[in-house]
Amino acid sequence: MSVLIFLLLVLLFCVLFIWTKILLPKKHLRSQHQELNAHHQRPLTDAELTLCRTYLAQRQRSPISFTERLLSKLNLARNTCTLRDKSVYTLNHSITHYSLSTSVPELNRYYLDAIEIHLPPNGQPFITADNTIELVYTNQSPLVITLNGHHLLDDLNSSSTQIPPSTTTDTSIRKETSERVAILNVRRQTVEEYALTHANNISEALILCCALLLIFCSLLTPLKFMPWILLASFLIILPCLWLMYRRPPRGHLQEIRTMRGRLRPWGLFGEANPKQQNLSLGILDLHYPEHWYPYIQKDIGQETIIEVDEQNRVVQHGPLLSLTHEVKKFPLQNWRHNLTLAVGSLLILIMTTSWLPTGISFKIALARLQGEQRVTVTDIDQLTQHTLHVGDVIDIKGSGRCIVPQTYQSNRTYDFLPFDCSAIYWNTHLSNTLPPSPIIEKTQALLATTSRQLDPDNNDLKGLNPQLASAIQKSGMILLNNFSDIVLKTAQLCATSQDCPRLKSALVNLENAKDWPMLVEQAKSGKLDGLNVLLRPNSAQNLTNLVNVATTTFMSKETRKMVETLSHLPRNGYLFINGQGQLLVDQEQPETSLFDLEPATQWKELQRISAQLLNTPFSLSGIITSLQRDDQGTLHVVVHQQPNTHALWRYVVTTLFLVCLIVLIVANTLLGIHRLRSNFSRYPRIKQDYEASLSEASPLLLRPKE
């Protein structure tokens, strides 16, 4: 079972990896390609391929500090710009150019509508109103290799101008008199802005749950695998915790652009619906946080300074509205993370408690810590002088009685049915014979008389004259020479009128009597004495079957009643139960289980096995894990095998794992609820803060910086 869960976990990781690393990028590329609407495609030539690779390698910025070099090695795949596929796509499109600084060409930004493209620095002079562009896809933004017939990479290569890697981020603001949008600055995301984009992230919580599941699996596996699986789970937990609490590396922080321009609403009929207001700056469709809409109405149509990320989400508007400020003052409440972890831990706790003997582990681990009492007895009187406690080690040899359980568990096998010799009742004066059963005696009497008279092999004809006897014998007929005895024995067994109807009517027909009571009356009055009834062999067989059916019904009922009687233990005494279901007696096991036998023979087998197990020698040693006295005064003592060192370690690990799960559930539930409530009140508090700031702020502050 645990191996299955382990494989499922590995499968889950593979699916997540394929989805994030392969399928999502492809999906993003397809949507980008559809938007560009290329009208021609051709494969890259080898020369072009080499030029592209050389150019992309040169563009790669060399990390300066030691940690940057270390992290860049870790995120090599993410930082390196590489070709997505080896095709060149040709399209016609206008290029929107945002020039940040003339002195640092690579800080210019070029867009085909909303898609950013990378234009080599020497391509800017060739931009016209409508351009013929040849581009290739990379894992970042598409790279333009030919613009209006000019092969940019060739020109770059021949002029061998080395592209100066940007070391500084100096910015300059170009004075724009017309309506054009200007990029004032480009910076990296703050930690708070980064946190906002991962506000509802529960992947770490899911990974932690998978690690806990792995620990649960380790408790199911043999002890030699347990340490390795535990190690694997800790190797998942530690990096995950590090990921949760570390500062996001620079490579993960998006670029934030500070832009100045006139905010324009582009709603279809110009109606300004504050709930879903659509604003744009130049050609950029902006995505504002909803709770900012009330505060930006006055800036619509005005010259405004905003900061947007790569998805055109506004992170700062004017001097006041700032997501970084919000997160700093009103920290994010990722309650989903906590509740996911709490629910996951709860599920694993339920699985643990249902599949593992957690109660036992807890008690044995506790007993070992507190030190235990050793009780060795061979006589019940010795035992009564001891006061037993959970955790005590007992060693008992004596003679007791296997119990007959009230209900049988489907997942166990019982070698001495109906007895369960993994539990022994110990008391003084135990009898080893079944209590007498009148019904069984009557049944056996009827069976005896009928089998004596109906058995074709030794049909008793002594009561007849020799000639008659030989004539009957020759004819092959069967003679009932004591019909009266059969009637009387049947009457004793089938006392009520509903009992044995078919047998009674057969006997009535054989004697041509009026009805059964009359026949019984005759038998009792002796009128049937000496009467012989002659039967054909098949009639004799039918009568035998009728008698068997009648007696079987009574014997089955009586056997079950007797088993029911045996399931009730005498008062007081001790009931020792082996918690692992192991036998406490050393007796020869019956080949056929009682209830698989013919009903007629079940009673004899029950008698035989009772004689064997109602007072049988037993031996029991182990650690007490449960003590309970029932209403009959019998002390139920559940005993488990004394754990060897390995088993003890398993119990201790199980107990620690349980405690850890409980702590995780309680802590994360409380934290999750607290964060959920804080999350609900977060936006109202942010709004109050903004309103307070707006009421205090002077108009000067609200005007954009010149």
């Binding site: 009561g463 007849l464 004259n465 020799p466 000639q467 008659l468 004539a471 009957i472 020759k474 004819s475 007929m477 019909f483 027909n509 054989l510 004697e511 041509n512 049937l528 000496g530 009467l531 012989n532 009834v533 002659l534 039967l535 054909r536 009639s539």
Partner: protein, 116 residues
Amino acid sequence: CTTAYKPVEPFPEKNLTQNHDRVHKMHRASSVQLYTDPADLINKPFRDLGEVSGEDCQASIQNSPANLSIARKRMQLKAATLKANAILVHQCEVITTNSVCYREAVCQGSALKVTQ
């Protein structure tokens, strides 16, 4: 000549009883059912009253031949005396014996009391 007139006398008692006996015997004999096959006794619970037999002796060659039906009748009579109402006939045959009879018809059976 005068004839002496005697009043009508009832039959002599002795003759009546003799007839009565003979008729009664005939009746009792015929009330004993004869069975030849034990299967006939199916569904007829019975009591065994013992073996019975009947003989008819042909003293010498000149005498009338031994008669089986007479032998059978005599067997039935014996059974009747045992209060039997049936006989399971085992065998009826004419045998040559070297005793008194030149030939003898012998019938053997078991006298049974069948409950009705």
